[in-house]
Symmetry: C2
């Protein structure tokens, strides 16, 4: 049994807490947040506190807080030589005060308040300075049913950057499609099966192999028709840049 | 029973043929292609021909050919006043010769040779000049189990444009993420659950509401860190443009 104290009350903290509650191998013995309001609803299920001096002894302390808060919070912890990890994709392992055994437990997924998440679909990227610590973190992730991956700092940071492309930027393309369809009274909903199929395709085929469409075919007539249809300068910029990007990838000439 | 002749041998033609074979309400009585080689494998299941003069009489002729071929092929058809439709998102209904009853039967989905497709996930956008023709096309789509939508030409063209954003451009973002991760020896595979979750999220929530991340939060520190990590000028351009796009959507200042 691995005993865990969670610090923070955001989406990652809350989803981790709920997931740990469902399994036997990990026990959340305490939940800290600087304001109790955010976690008071759990007070009958777990010991909650807003006082760092009251923290229990535990095998792992998970700092699920904003990147900027990691350094200060880890310094303020009133103990040393225990395993303290953060959950950030972008923050350095060395942001954690050196008095601790340090690690990173980065769940590579998008968490929202509303949606339930199955940790089988949350790869956990693990970083640790000591092999024994790595194995504790790996055991913890495996208990959640998550795929795990040992990464170094550079790899983790690059995964976090790539996640912005496939999550935030992709979602913004959905948003642009929403604007474009609504502007003509067409239904964005009609695109939803295509959105899903596009994501499913690259589960088995590389994005390179999965590419289709007028940019890849260098179908100049359709490209021109599309550019004529777009009424928003900003959408035109995105259309041109991503068309060029596809053509560079697939060895076509520029527009 | 609706009798159908399919013309063309690309992905749309082939997937439509296979889907029609599975249902009772539609019968493909003939398959035409200018070269028999592409459809010869089906010769024991359906009458195949490369001779337009040999075309059977049928309720619907489906021109599942490239946009550029629609006009010429429809002109060459040796009959008139029968229902002839194309399957293109971008071509005009009026590309079909006016001697025919004209319509569009546009399946809004990505088709690939390898992947099986469930037509329940293929919205069919229908356009027709006559109400009776519209109802034949709708019946045909319903028989496939597809959602259907009556659209006008402007709506169809705008859906085709939006499809490029959510399919080709999104896939290119996956490709860029692939390049970024591989360049540091990180595994693109770790991003696959996130790719799927991002697509699932907007099935129920608008892309506007689904947005998260450093651009939306205007987290300048992370934005700077990311830009420092990117080694490819082209990836930098995409990062900057889509970050700006998110910030415009969510009322943040430019970078």
């Amino acid at each position: 049994m691995i005993s865990v104290v969670i610090l923070g009350a955001g989406n990652v903290a809350t989803h981790l807490y709920k997931a740990f509650c469902k399994i036997d191998e990990v026990s959340v013995t305490q939940w800290y947040n600087r304001s109790l309001d955010a976690i008071r609803t759990f007070k009958n299920d777990v010991s909650i506190t807003d006082d760092l001096a009251q923290l229990n002894e535990a095998d792992v302390y998970i700092l699920a807080v904003s990147d900027d808060a990691i350094k200060m919070l880890s310094t303020q912890l009133p103990f040393e030589n225990r395993l303290v990890v953060h959950t950030s994709g972008a923050a350095s392992l060395y942001d954690i005060d050196k008095k601790h055994k340090r690690g990173v437990f980065y769940p590579l997924q998008t968490f929202s308040k509303a949606a339930e998440i199955d940790f089988a679909n949350v790869p956990i990227c693990i970083e640790a300075l000591e092999s024994t610590d790595y194995h504790v973190l790996k055991k913890m992730a495996k208990a959640l049913g998550s795929p795990t991956k040992k990464v170094n700092t550079d790899q983790r940071k690059v995964l976090h950057l790539a996640a912005v492309f496939v999550n935030n930027f992709t979602n913004q393309l959905y948003r642009v499609a929403h604007e474009i369809t609504e502007s003509e009274g067409a239904e964005f909903d009609l695109l939803k099966p295509l959105i899903l199929e596009t994501a499913k395709k690259v589960q088995n085929v590389s994005p390179y192999m999965a590419q289709t469409g007028p940019a890849k075919r260098n179908d100049k007539k359709t490209l021109r028709k599309h550019l004529k249809l777009i009424k928003n300068k900003h959408h035109t910029d995105i259309y041109n840049l991503l068309t060029t990007s596809i053509q560079q990838t697939h060895g076509r000439k520029k527009l």
